[in-house]
């Protein structure tokens, strides 16, 4: 009696698994539907404006016409507020630690650059450009003049520009150490990409004030929320371009690496990353430009720097001052763009299959 029954249950179990596997998509959609129903029920039960009796809704269909019914309201606001408060109270020390750490590094960078004699800083920028651009004299001289003009426009701009740059540098550094590995992970697996892509979309579309202000609540006024905001705003292009760069590496070259027995690490470090580097540098370039834009906006939450000057000029209706600061920002943008851009170009020259003139 027992044996046939056991066999039967086994078959049933196997069948069930099979059924589950085959109709994965259907079950997933049913799950989503259940979540939706659950959201409807909770929002209805938590709503204060609901009718006394649920039966009224079935007798009187006036709620289907005209305005959106007041009881059909997802209490997301409440949930986020509760969550945010709990986060702030329970894990405040973590944010404080992050705050202190970032502030410490920021001060190091800033003080170093401010205390250094200004001609030396210009010289440093010039030397950096010279080597990054593959010894192009034109670019180097141009960048040198741009750097000089930042201070030349207004003496106070020199220090402000350094403050802005320091915040940016740290923001970009965070972007690079988080963005490149994320990009690599995305290039490696389609599933990871499907998870990360919507997050990147969210980061790029959500208005920056939505995270600037909560940033203040978590980290306090000043530079650190600006760094965090910079990170959120500037990291998506870097992640995307790293992912794209790696996936765009010639398939046959990857096959060649495989065919000669490269393991995953050798393939990544020896072939994929070097060949994706022009694209990754383009990502760093985009990241830099967006970081600069964000640092300027962040002056509205009390971050010091060039954006601060624009704000001040506008508040005093001093158009000249605002314009001057605006030009200084553009100059800073040009300097940073030339340095990162030309580095990418130098790399690209070698890796594109375009034929050079032969001797």
């Amino acid at each position: 009696m027992k044996e046939p029954f056991g066999a039967l249950s086994l078959i049933n179990k196997a069948n069930c698994m099979e059924l589950l596997k085959k109709n994965k998509k259907i079950f997933f959609n049913i799950g989503l539907l259940l979540v939706f129903v659950w959201l409807l029920i909770t929002s209805y039960s938590q709503s204060k404006r609901k009718p006394d009796n649920i039966g009224e809704l079935l007798n009187d269909f006036s709620w289907l016409g005209g305005k959106w019914p007041k009881w059909l309201d997802l209490p997301l606001m409440k949930w986020i507020n509760i969550g945010f408060k709990a986060l702030n109270e329970k894990y405040g020390y973590i944010f404080e630690a992050i705050n202190n750490f970032l502030l410490y590094i920021l001060m190091l960078v800033k003080n170093f650059l401010i205390q250094a004699p200004w001609p030396l800083v210009i010289l440093g920028v010039v030397v950096l450009t010279y080597f990054a651009s593959g010894r192009k004299v034109g670019t180097t001289v141009f960048v040198g003049f741009c750097t000089f003009f930042i201070g030349f426009l207004h003496p106070i701009f020199w220090q402000k520009a350094i403050e802005t740059t320091a915040i940016m540098l740290i923001g970009i550094f965070l972007c690079v150490i988080a963005g490149i590995p994320l990009g690599i992970a995305m290039a490696r697996s389609a599933r990871t990409r499907n998870i990360i892509l919507p997050v990147l979309d969210l980061m790029q579309t959500i208005p920056s004030f939505c995270y600037l202000i909560p940033g203040i609540m978590l980290f306090g006024l000043g530079a650190v929320p600006a760094i965090i905001a910079t990170f959120i705003y500037a990291v998506p292009p870097l992640v995307r371009l790293t992912d794209l760069g790696i996936r765009l590496v010639d398939k046959e070259v990857i096959e060649a690496a495989d065919a000669f027995g490269a393991n995953k690490k050798q393939k990544l470090l020896g072939v994929q990353l070097p060949l994706a580097l022009p694209n990754i540098m383009q990502g760093v370039n985009q990241c830099t430009m967006m970081a600069l834009a964000m640092v300027v906006i962040a002056s509205m939450i009390g971050t010091r720097g060039l954006g601060d000057e624009v704000l001040l000029g506008l508040q005093q209706l001093n158009v000249g001052r605002a314009a001057e600061a605006g030009i200084a920002i553009v100059l800073l943008a040009i300097v940073l763009d030339r340095i990162t851009q030309s580095y990418g170009e130098t790399l690209q020259e070698r890796t594109t299959p375009a034929k050079k003139e032969k001797k």
Partner: protein
């Protein structure tokens, strides 16, 4: 034991290849499968044996599955079903680590569009396989230089691939494959991207190298002349099916079906067929007129002695390397072999 053995390999591309497999095994055609399931049949029950030291040419039009087939040998592509035995080892049974080891030491590959690393110099490219094998820098550079010399690129070792012409780039590809000193070389349309003169040059170079090295070469091409020139055996693929395997002469003289026949229709037979293939053996040639004879080596192609025969209106005496008479060729045999059926 054959060097390479492929047994009943199927490859189906699509979302759920396993589910389509029974249908393909039941003999559904490529078009039917595509229409009914949206899956593409890459290989359909392919079995073949490749012996040690021979050059096996796999030929077919684009889309016939030849590049897919060659990628199965080093498992750049996994088959949907079937076994692949290399020196008796089933490559399907290898785990990741032993597969990598296998690729490092057993096989090397040459690619259609060269597959060179654009960020590495010629010598670094050639030494790549050795780098993967874990050889020291000195050893690597020494072997790489030898191979660069062997393909005639001395002096270019510190150039980048994009500074070289197509033909030179493919020489680098060839040198890279030779450097690892593997028994088996896979060549995926290796010369297809080159212009005709350079291609014929490279074919000659490959033949010369092969006569010294005696590697097992699997060569993919869509060019019949190339396959006749290089191949000891030729396999012809059509829509994922292997329609005929044989020596170049087999393929030309006895095409298995219309597809192969269409392929070989325009071939210059005089260029491919050797004297010994068409001669009448001596013991059957008693009634041949032996007054006016031209001596012909048994390995000569028809085109090499044809002008002489036409001018003198003579019969041919076929001799081997030692000068022993092996048989005779009369106008009748010549006519038969050169007439297109």
């Amino acid at each position: 034991m054959s060097k390479i053995e492929i047994n009943n390999v199927y490859k189906i591309f699509g979302n759920n290849p396993k589910s389509v497999l029974p249908m393909v095994k039941d003999g559904a055609t490529k078009e039917e499968v595509l229409e009914k399931t949206g899956h593409t049949v890459g290989l359909d029950n392919v079995s073949l044996k490749i012996e040690e030291g021979e050059t096996f040419v796999c030929m077919g039009l684009s889309g016939s599955g030849k590049s897919t087939l060659i990628r199965h040998l080093n498992r750049l592509i996994d088959p949907t079903d079937g076994d692949i035995l290399i020196e008796g080892t089933n490559v399907m049974s290898l785990n990741t680590e032993s597969l990598i080891d296998f690729r490092r030491h057993k096989m090397s590959m040459v690619f259609q569009r060269f597959g060179l690393f654009p960020h590495k110099t010629v010598i670094q490219n050639v030494g790549y396989g050795l780098e993967m094998q874990g050889k020291t820098d000195d050893e690597r550079n020494k072997t790489a230089m030898e191979k660069i010399e062997a393909v005639g690129l001395t002096g270019f070792e510190n150039q980048y691939p994009n500074q070289l012409s197509g033909g030179m780039q493919q020489r680098v590809g060839l040198a890279r494959a030779l450097a690892t000193n593997t028994d088996i070389m896979l060549m995926d349309e290796a010369f297809s991207a080159l212009d005709p003169l350079i291609r014929s040059d490279m074919q000659k170079q490959l033949i010369d190298l092969q006569s010294e090295l005696k590697k097992t070469i699997v060569f993919i091409t869509h060019d019949l002349d190339e396959s006749l020139r290089l191949g000891d055996h030729i396999g012809i693929l059509n829509a994922g099916k292997l329609v005929q395997v044989g020596t170049p002469v087999d393929i030309i003289m006895n095409p298995a079906d219309d597809y192969v026949e269409a392929f070989v229709k325009d071939v210059n037979r005089a260029k491919v067929i050797k004297a010994k293939i068409i001669m009448k053996p001596s013991n059957e040639s008693n009634n041949v007129n032996k007054d006016n004879l031209v001596k012909v080596q048994e390995d000569q192609f028809i085109e090499e002695f044809l002008p002489q025969v036409v001018c003198t209106n003579a019969n041919c005496e076929v001799v081997d390397k030692k000068g022993n008479t092996k048989g005779y060729i009369t106008n009748k045999e010549l006519q038969k072999s050169l007439t297109k059926s």
